[in-house]
């Protein structure tokens, strides 16, 4: 048992590449950024569609400019005050380092060459943020809620800079933020130890120490939480959760996750002309055993969801018009003259993708479509998709920030400038939908934006080379005395500051 002011979680930390907010883009890193850093504004934890001031006290919008008044007396964990220079340094540094999440800020039209001119200090507490891209204020505000827009303590980070790395090597394993916690020690692949930051403008957390332990084996994580040596266990399989069902000492917390699972047909693959045939896409919609996969095969881990915006995002469609109907699919294929269709299906070589692929193989075979499953390591699958060499692939999608544009800009946007979005990767040329997606990005009225996104989702759901099938659910087991943990729909929304036990 751990002391009451120490909270310990058992999870896999093997995914962490970096704890620098300008670089880390993995689940465990993103969740840590919420604990350690603050952004100017952040989604409200209970109603994420609403923005809460964080390091900014208030903001005003102009034409392609936002002016933020910084919160008075806000300090970093080092004791340094939060200044406009820190905001400018943090955003500019993220663009110039050009690591994995930099593309989120690049959407504002920022490049290493122009970002400095886009960020202007007005007075000791005010900073202006300009952008050149054709984006509405609502979207820009949401982009600034992304973890890559976290504000770091310039004086501390710059003091640890080596060569031209802007402190990146140091910040990979240290912290310089103003969030409710600060990193005491990070031992890669072993543990991340966070101490409370009582001076955080977000308020002091209720616990003194948060220890995230790397326990790679799910069976071991289950035992640890059952015995009480950890207070929380993440990523337990359905069997482990079921086995803990009878225990009174633990309870299961369930949160919707924004992760969407879908099937993609690569219409750019000329070796298999069937892939570009909309009749195949339509037949495929009736050939997935959505309920069987969500409720039996992978029970408890997924919901049936058939639109690209995850439930929990403003404007997400929640209707599920498709179900397994082999006869209907056969009719569609016969009408289109599609016979003897063979498709190579690429999938990740890890659970639950193999199970899902086998279910697809069985149901597609009933309509005469033969699927050859090609399991491969994740980066190999990504490589195939980026080079458009695969035929079909089962993928998942996690939005990069809490705005519909993050997902619509991938699924329903194929701009003429050659940006390689998901639609481009599917070989799906959609000038009409792309214009609609651009219009939604420019729109500042929330209701009008929602209405446009609903139309786009309906169109993608009806006819597109994607068959969107499932939305993930996050199940977390905690000791029964644990109170106050909350997890939002997006990847970074893990809130430990109100946890007590």
């Amino acid at each position: 048992m751990n002391p009451p002011n120490v909270f310990v979680t058992a999870q896999s930390l093997d995914d962490i590449v970096s704890l620098d907010p300008a670089e880390g883009f993995e689940l465990s890193s993103q969740q840590t950024f919420t604990a350690v850093y603050q952004r100017l504004i952040q989604p409200d934890r209970d109603q994420p569609a609403r923005l809460d001031p964080s390091l900014a006290a208030r903001w005003t919008a102009g034409d392609h400019v936002l002016t933020f008044d910084l919160r008075e007396n806000a300090v970093f964990s080092s004791g340094n005050p939060v200044r406009p220079e820190d905001v400018i340094y943090s955003l500019s540094r993220a663009v110039k380092l050009n690591r994995a999440p930099a593309f989120i800020l690049n959407q504002l039209g920022w490049t290493a060459a122009n970002v400095d001119a886009s960020l202007v200090k007005d007075d000791p507490h005010r900073v202006e943020i300009h952008w050149t891209a054709e984006l509405g204020t609502a979207l820009v505000l949401n982009i600034l809620t992304s973890p890559v827009a976290s504000i770091v303590d310039e004086r501390v980070v710059a003091a640890h800079a080596l060569d031209s790395d802007a402190g990146n090597r140091w910040l990979k394993i240290h912290s310089a933020g103003s969030g409710p916690f600060k990193i005491r020690r990070y031992i890669p692949r072993e543990a991340l130890v966070l101490d409370a930051n009582p001076s955080s403008p977000a308020g002091a957390p209720r616990i003194n120490t948060l220890i995230l332990k790397n326990v790679p084996d799910a069976g071991t994580r289950r035992l640890l939480v059952e015995v009480g040596d950890v207070d929380m266990a993440r990523d337990l399989g359905p069997d482990q959760i079921a086995a803990l069902g009878a225990s009174r000492s633990v309870k299961l917390l369930e949160f919707p996750s924004a992760t969407i699972h879908y099937l993609l047909f690569n219409t750019a693959n000329r070796d298999n002309p069937a892939l570009a045939n909309p009749a195949l896409w339509e037949a495929a919609r009736w050939l997935i055993d959505y309920r069987g996969i969500a409720e039996k095969l992978l029970r408890g881990q997924f919901l049936v969801h058939q639109a690209f915006l995850a439930e929990g995002f403003p404007g997400a469609l929640d209707d599920t018009p498709y179900h397994l109907d082999v006869a209907r699919a056969k009719q569609i294929l016969v009408r289109a003259g599609l016979a003897n269709v063979h498709i190579r299906l690429s999938v990740f070589n890890q659970p639950p993708f193999g199970d899902i692929a086998q279910s697809l193989q069985a149901t597609f075979a009933q309509a005469g479509i033969s699927l050859d499953i090609l399991p491969a390591e994740a980066s190999e699958v990504y490589s195939q998709v980026r080079s458009r060499s695969e035929e079909a692939v089962w993928l998942y999608w996690i939005p990069d920030y809490f705005d519909a544009n993050s997902t619509a800009g991938a699924f329903a946007f194929d701009p003429a400038d050659g940006t390689k979005t998901l639609a481009w990767r599917a070989g799906w040329h959609i000038p009409g939908l792309s214009a609609l997606t651009r219009a939604a990005a420019l729109e500042s009225d929330p209701q009008t934006r929602i209405s446009i996104y609903r139309n786009i989702q309906t169109e993608v759901q009806r006819s597109s080379p994607y068959v969107i099938a499932l939305q993930a659910r996050t199940g977390i087991v905690v000791r029964s005395g644990v109170q106050g943990y909350f997890q939002g729909v997006d990847a970074d929304m893990a809130y430990y500051d109100r946890v007590s036990k």
């Binding site: 310990v8 093997d14 590449v17 050009n98 692949r189 326990v215 084996d217 035992l223 980066s379």
Partner: protein
């Protein structure tokens, strides 16, 4: 040290270097044939094309294969194993952190399993077809056939979760884990040196299960092979002669047969030790302990070339050194071997 021993040791140095060079070349070639794209592995699927190109350049992946190999060899010659792409830390620092943990685990397991295995093999040959022989057969079969990750989980369930006799995962309880400075990397030594009350006992409590389970694997291996070797000696003429001269069974076993299989037993022990050093990955995973096996496996999944090469080099060096020392020990133990 005799001049002969010294000569053998010196002759081994070029052999060590040649083996390590060949090992590097093979590992480097195999890694570069892998379909895994290390840049995509690092930045994921959403990153922009410009980030992808930049990261590939920083990792040196845009250079030719021979140039990449050349750069790496030059760096290794300067003692620089590079920076791990997945932990972001120098590979040397990573290895210094994880390797002592593995040495500690493997050495304790070998000490228990080796001594126990040889004792059981002797008992089994001394009392053939008795209860002890049957017991030894079951033990050696079990040690070789029960998967260690399964045994680890069941042992945790019974002795940690239900009976609370031993510590759980990790090397220390959380109360000690982040307060004791791990200077040497050997948890028993660091806990003892720290003088923190209860730390040493806690470290022992966390070591018992993984050591016993790895020892059971070692014990199975050592017992089975040593027993077969001893059985092979049992029918030989010198044994019959010794018995005819009136020597007791125990005396024949310990003074006549055992020295004849000592070279073989040493080889078995050495091979078992080498296997324990790199093969403890499942135990390290189940018990959430740091170690070279898990470090290498995770690096392989991440296509983290500097970490893969660094860890392979270290494990390879251990194999070569252990084999070399064993050859020497066997020669010293058995003068018939040239």
């Amino acid at each position: 040290m005799s001049g002969n021993t010294l000569r053998v040791l010196i002759r081994g140095v070029p052999m060590l270097l040649a083996t390590l060079g060949a090992l590097l070349l093979v590992t480097f070639t195999l890694s570069s044939l892998s379909p895994i794209d290390p840049a995509l592995q690092l930045i994921g699927d959403h990153a922009s094309a410009s980030t992808y190109i930049q990261v590939r350049h920083e990792l040196g992946l845009d250079a030719s294969w021979s140039r990449q190999l050349g750069r790496y060899l030059v760096a290794v010659a300067h003692g620089d194993l590079g920076v791990s792409r997945s932990t972001g830390q120098p590979v040397r620092d990573d290895l210094e952190r994880v390797f002592p943990a593995t040495i500690e685990l493997a050495t304790l397991a070998l000490a228990l399993g080796g001594v126990g295995g040889i004792a059981l093999a002797l008992l089994s040959v001394r009392y053939p077809n008795a209860l002890v022989d049957g017991f030894v057969r079951v033990i050696s079969l079990a040690g070789n056939s029960i998967p260690v990750f399964w045994l680890g989980l069941i042992a945790l369930l019974v002795f940690y979760a239900r009976l609370h006799w031993v510590g759980g995962t990790g090397r220390l309880s959380d109360a000690f884990e982040y307060t004791i400075e791990m200077k040497s990397g050997f948890v028993l030594l660091d806990a003892w040196r720290s003088s923190v009350p209860g730390a040493l006992a806690d470290a022992v409590a966390h070591l018992i299960l993984p050591v016993l389970i790895l020892a059971s694997y070692a014990l199975g291996n050592v017992t089975r092979l040593t027993r077969s070797a001893l059985k092979g000696e049992a029918g030989k003429e010198y044994v019959t002669l010794a018995r005819a001269k009136g020597a007791g069974r125990t005396r024949v076993l310990l003074w006549h047969m055992a020295p004849n299989v000592s070279g073989f037993a040493l080889t078995v022990l050495a091979l078992t030790y080498a296997n324990l050093l790199e093969g403890a990955v499942l135990i390290e995973t189940v018990f959430a302990r740091p170690g070279i096996g898990r470090y290498l496996t995770t690096a392989l999944f991440d296509a983290d070339m500097p970490a893969i090469l660094g860890a392979t080099l270290l494990i390879g060096a251990c194999f070569v050194v252990i084999n070399g020392l064993t050859d020497l020990a066997v020669k010293l133990a058995d003068p018939r071997i040239e």
